[in-house]
């Protein structure tokens, strides 16, 4: 939609600031303070305003939004769990490069994976008038309270001319004014497990992340869908939950070997977890891929440095970051009628040298264990 032209003035049918005030039972001044976040307001008043904004689907008019946009800084806040992970570091690199190109500044904040800390950081960035706040990484799927709070933050950021951008995590809902940049996580896992099954593997140990963590669960869902399509039973002892670290991969692998679990391949939920599997395999005198095939996920540089080089799923992390910054800088989200942005990047399997056919493909259907 373009700006209204003389003689074709769009009748103002949407809710106004006064409507929000009436709905919330507060003065227009209070509503204005909450939306602009330029004056202390009680928590309950803020809550009532945000409820009214949601219920009326209120969005500030173009003029007000342009003013708000003038007030927003040219800073992108990029919030991640930990700067040491290669995949999110690649995304941060994409954000920085694009931001620099556009003359914006990027700031990095870390949460150590703590959802409360993340909410606090988003709130802080809002108060600092960040031009956009980008969050990357999966979430715990059962955290309803967290979701509700983040939804409110998304609305208040948007109302203030800023934007919440979610990278590699599920949308908060169609009615939430935020940008979502996803990659086809489930299909990547499906393709990778199909690759292992096609090579004749039937017992694949899946080293997942935390239970109910969205990224891990999408990968597990793709893995299970492939098993089901190939008519391979999904054995519960072949799924181990851990975290996305090298140490976790090492320990899970050792546990599975100690328990005498029978498997010919390991699907590690990330490349870093796969590195831990390599370490444990070496200790047990298992050769990859001769004795054991191993695959990872993410295609970070590590995948090329492991020996044998790791077969994995490519996730375009740098592109995710770059796109997040593009959407943030672009003023599309300041236009009236903007209801959100959703991008989906594809993933694909990169075949290297860590997979081979199991010695006797059909034997694994039998009773080796």
């Amino acid at each position: 939609m373009t700006e209204s032209t003389p003689g074709r003035r769009r009748p103002s049918t949407g809710p106004t600031l006064a409507d929000v005030a009436a709905h919330a039972g507060l003065s227009p001044a209070t509503v204005s303070r909450v939306l602009a976040d330029n004056y202390p307001v009680s928590r309950s008043a803020r809550q009532r305003v945000m409820n009214a904004v949601r219920e009326l689907n209120y969005s500030a008019n173009t003029h007000a939004r342009a003013l708000a946009a003038g007030a927003r800084s040219t800073t992108i806040a990029f919030i991640l769990a930990d700067v040491r992970g290669q995949s999110f570091a690649d995304a941060a690199h994409g954000v920085e490069r694009e931001a620099a190109k556009q003359g914006w500044l990027s700031l990095i904040g870390t949460t150590q994976g703590d959802p409360d800390r993340e909410l606090a950081l988003v709130q802080l960035m809002r108060e600092q008038r960040a031009g956009a706040v980008v969050l990357i990484g999966g979430i715990m799927e059962d955290a309803a309270d967290y979701r509700q709070k983040l939804t409110e933050l998304a609305r208040s950021l948007h109302a203030a001319g800023s934007l919440l951008v979610l990278c590699g995590r599920p949308s908060l809902g169609d009615d939430v004014p935020a940008a979502v940049i996803e990659y086809d996580n489930e299909n990547g896992a499906y393709a990778l497990t199909s690759h292992l099954l096609s090579q004749g593997h039937r017992r694949i140990l899946f080293l997942a992340g935390p239970e109910r963590q969205s990224t891990s669960n999408e990968r597990l869902a793709g893995h299970r869908r492939a098993l089901s399509d190939f008519g391979v039973p999904d054995a519960p002892e072949l799924v181990e939950h851990g975290v996305f670290t090298r140490a976790s991969g090492y320990q899970s692998m050792r546990r599975a070997v100690a328990a005498g679990t029978d498997f010919t391949a390991v699907f590690a939920a990330t490349d870093v977890v796969a590195a831990g599997v390599y370490a444990a395999a070496a200790e047990h005198g298992l050769t990859i891929p001769g004795d054991l095939s191993v695959v990872g996920y993410d295609d970070v540089e590590l995948a090329q440095d492991l020996r044998p080089r790791l077969t994995t799923v490519h996730v375009p992390y740098e592109d995710l970051g770059r796109t997040a910054a593009q959407i943030a800088v672009d003023d599309q989200h300041l236009q009236p009628g903007w209801t959100g942005d959703h991008r989906l990047f594809k993933t694909h399997v990169v075949i290297r040298s860590s997979v081979t056919r199991p010695e006797s493909p059909r034997q694994v259907d039998g009773n080796r264990g």
Partner: protein, 238 residues
């Protein structure tokens, strides 16, 4: 194609991307290598997309897909459904890299299971729908007795399906059919096939070619393929 004039034609171009398979003949490979060297001297780059490398010393970016692995997988899938007489339609040009790799995967899947391939069931033809139709009709007329068909591409498979339908042969009850490529048509036909990451092949090719220094360690990439199971295949009742 004359290497020097080709290079002149594309002077100033950042990269030249060749999409799809090519001939494996010695003369062709040698000429490709010359072109790669000429481009390299001109500061440009030859990119092979969906085609195997032409030699370790040749300066080229290669983004290929696991062509043979996909053919192996889909053939193995048919064998696992109980099929033993499986035809391969479209083996006309085995020196073409794409045909050659798909045929190898087909043969290898049989060998791995210790099964003999009846050479009568490996029939010629190119990548046309018409060719798939003709070759299938010939197999039926000959009474070849196949219970499944691997078509070299989805387009060829569409011809196979048409020939079977015209002859009153039911798919998948009487004969199972698989294609290769997973083009949109295969969804419309409900055809079991092998998925290629088409879009990613192109993306990766451009990314690696334009950022050669950044991706210096990864100038040869092999992307995965996988079987997409739809309803043109069924268990062989014995």
């Amino acid at each position: 194609m004359d290497a020097n004039s080709t290079v002149k034609l594309i002077a100033g171009v950042l990269a030249v991307v060749l999409v799809g398979g090519g001939l494996r003949t010695e003369a062709h490979v040698r000429r490709m290598a010359e072109i790669a060297h000429s481009l390299d001297r001109a500061g440009s780059r030859l990119v092979l997309c969906g085609r195997p490398p032409i030699g370790a010393d040749v300066p080229a970016t290669v983004v290929e897909y696991d062509n043979e692995g996909g053919a192996f997988a889909v053939t193995d899938y048919l064998i696992s459904l109980g099929h033993r007489r499986i035809a391969f339609v479209g083996a006309g040009e085995p020196e073409h890299t794409t045909t050659g790799a798909r045929l190898s995967g087909f043969l290898d899947a049989h060998a791995t299971r210790g099964l003999e391939v009846d050479q009568e069931l490996v029939v010629s033809g190119n990548y046309d729908r018409e060719s798939g139709y003709r070759q299938t009709k010939m197999l039926l007329d000959r009474g070849a007795g196949m219970t499944a068909v691997v078509a070299v591409t989805d387009v060829v498979a569409s011809g196979v399906l048409a020939a079977l339908r015209d002859a009153g042969v039911r798919v998948p009850e009487d004969v199972s059919v698989v294609g290769y490529d997973d083009i949109p048509l295969s969804g419309d036909l409900d055809l079991t096939t092998v998925h290629l990451p088409h879009e990613e092949l192109g993306r990766a090719a451009v990314r690696l070619a334009l950022h050669r220094d950044e991706y210096a360690l990864d100038q040869h990439l092999m992307l995965g393929t996988h079987v997409v199971i739809r309803s043109s295949t069924a268990k062989r009742e014995s």
